[in-house]
Amino acid sequence: MNPQTLLEHVGHLKTQMGACFVGSRAVFRGHDLHADLKDMEWVELYVFGITGRRFSPEQLRLMQAIWAHTSYPDARIWNNRVAALAGTARSTGNLGIAAALAVSEATIYGRGIDIRAIEFFIRAKKQVEDGGNLAELVATELKQKRSIAGYGRPIAAADERIKPTMALAEKLGLADGAYVRLAFSIEEILIGGRWRQRMNYGGLSAALAADLGLTPQEYYLYLFPAFLAGMPPCYIEAEQREEGSLFPLTCAHILYEGPAKRRWHPAG
């Protein structure tokens, strides 16, 4: 890129994604939103927007369930707590929930883990297909990165979301893909070894999504609303209760560990 390239883009957007022709029509990835796509469910439109591909009703049902099964209206959970704190501080619901979604892009949970999990599965499957040994691959990954995204859980060992999600995937005929089988094989290695880690929901979701053909970036964007359904209840309850009454902290709750009290000397 150089200034000449930038000059060519001034004031004008060339796009394949879509546009709104106010008063006449809206185009969404080359299709008329109100004609060609008028019967699309929201989730279908959302993943079509991300991938440009169509998915079967069974696949879409599974995609919705992956969001729903991890939507917990528990205001203690860090991202949900942001939405709830916005309520108790009498901020707007939109701000609170938008911030809670932004916070969901974390390193030890949420989007930061999700994109690593699907990338590892895609890489591992290719290496195994190329003749690699899965156990060695797992050991190398653990040595290099200290953890495998999608295995282990910061709070508890068991993951209550796996069973219902697998049950639904089986019912929909989507539980036996190559990536899901790979994910459970990795779990066997991790349980059998000294690591003693089980697969968590992030691992299963990534494997199911990889079997649906999602790339890491598509999966990352598809998961954006994953925790969303649990957030408005947290905001609503906090907003309906006495202001400031959610998780109040007394001065004594601040456990100070810094320098002792001292006098300030302005820099000369």
């Binding site: 796009t15 990352y220 810094g258 820099a267």
Partner: protein, 263 residues
């Protein structure tokens, strides 16, 4: 499960009649309202929140100059543009700042770029060969939430020559504080630009200043996000007042459109 907040930044003593009201607040041991207020410069307070030791006079002068240099990236900057999108439509003030933060967080002139350059300072120091290696190494192919980098961090991907404000800021910072990195950056600027094939950007100057002030890459990223907000706020409010009819909307051309008209 803990119910308290562990911190080495802040301590509070309650009023006798209310455990939720602070009678005194201490920042790293200094009485904020009883002593610091009226005596401490804003940039000194800013630094004190991130580190135990107070800034020296020269360090405070540098941080203040950096804050001035970053205060307004100007309305052409993508982060300020985003804030104005909030302002012009009458979005909440917080939404305009969130927009500026989200866009200004990136690897192109944003907080992540500063973070990456500060990481490079940790690895390369003032060793030109180390910088040569870092600048010419292929970008890491590790998948993360951040998009793949498209240019070496700290350089202007669209630049032809070093922008005058970049040179002015660097010269000013060096004159205020002769710490190692800034002075070295000024001396080696032409060489580094020759290696990267691109002119130095303000993000690299900011990163060097923040590293010279002793901040970690994570702290530098935060401060860069924070210090660029004033301009975003002001421009958002200005566009709200001017109204959407005076705000650019741009033309669009749909490729592969069945009908093929323009909006």
């Amino acid at each position: 499960m803990t119910m308290g907040i562990h911190t080495r930044i802040w301590q509070e003593e309650p009023e006798a009649d209310n455990p939720f009201a602070a009678r005194a607040a201490y920042c790293r041991g200094y009485d904020v309202y009883g002593e610091l207020l009226g005596q401490i410069r804003w940039v000194e307070m800013l630094a004190l929140l991130f580190r135990d030791e107070a800034l020296s006079k020269a360090e405070a002068d540098l941080l203040e100059a950096l804050a001035v240099a970053l205060a307004n990236p100007g309305p052409r900057d993508a982060a300020v543009h985003a804030a104005m999108c909030g302002g012009v439509g009458g979005s909440t003030s917080a939404a305009s700042l969130i927009a500026a933060l989200a866009v200004g967080a990136g690897q192109n002139a944003g907080g992540r770029e500063v973070f990456l350059v500060m990481q490079a300072w940790e690895v390369c120091g003032t060793n030109l060969d180390a910088w040569r290696q870092w600048l010419t190494a292929p970008a890491p192919d590790e998948v993360s939430i951040w998009p793949a980098p498209q240019h070496p961090p700290g350089f202007d991907p669209h630049g032809v020559s070093t922008a005058t404000p970049v040179k002015q800021a660097l010269a000013c910072f060096v004159s205020l504080n002769s710490s190692a990195r800034l002075a070295w950056l000024e001396q080696q600027r032409a060489e580094l630009e020759a290696i990267s094939g691109l002119p130095l950007a303000l993000s690299a100057v900011a990163a060097a200043a923040l590293a010279d002030l002793g901040f970690t890459p994570e702290q530098g990223e935060m401060l860069h996000l924070l210090l660029r907000l004033p301009g975003a706020a002001a421009h958002a409010l200005e566009q709200r007042q001017l109204g959407h009819k005076k705000f650019p909307f741009f033309t669009i051309e749909l490729q592969h459109d069945k009908i093929g008209d323009q909006a």
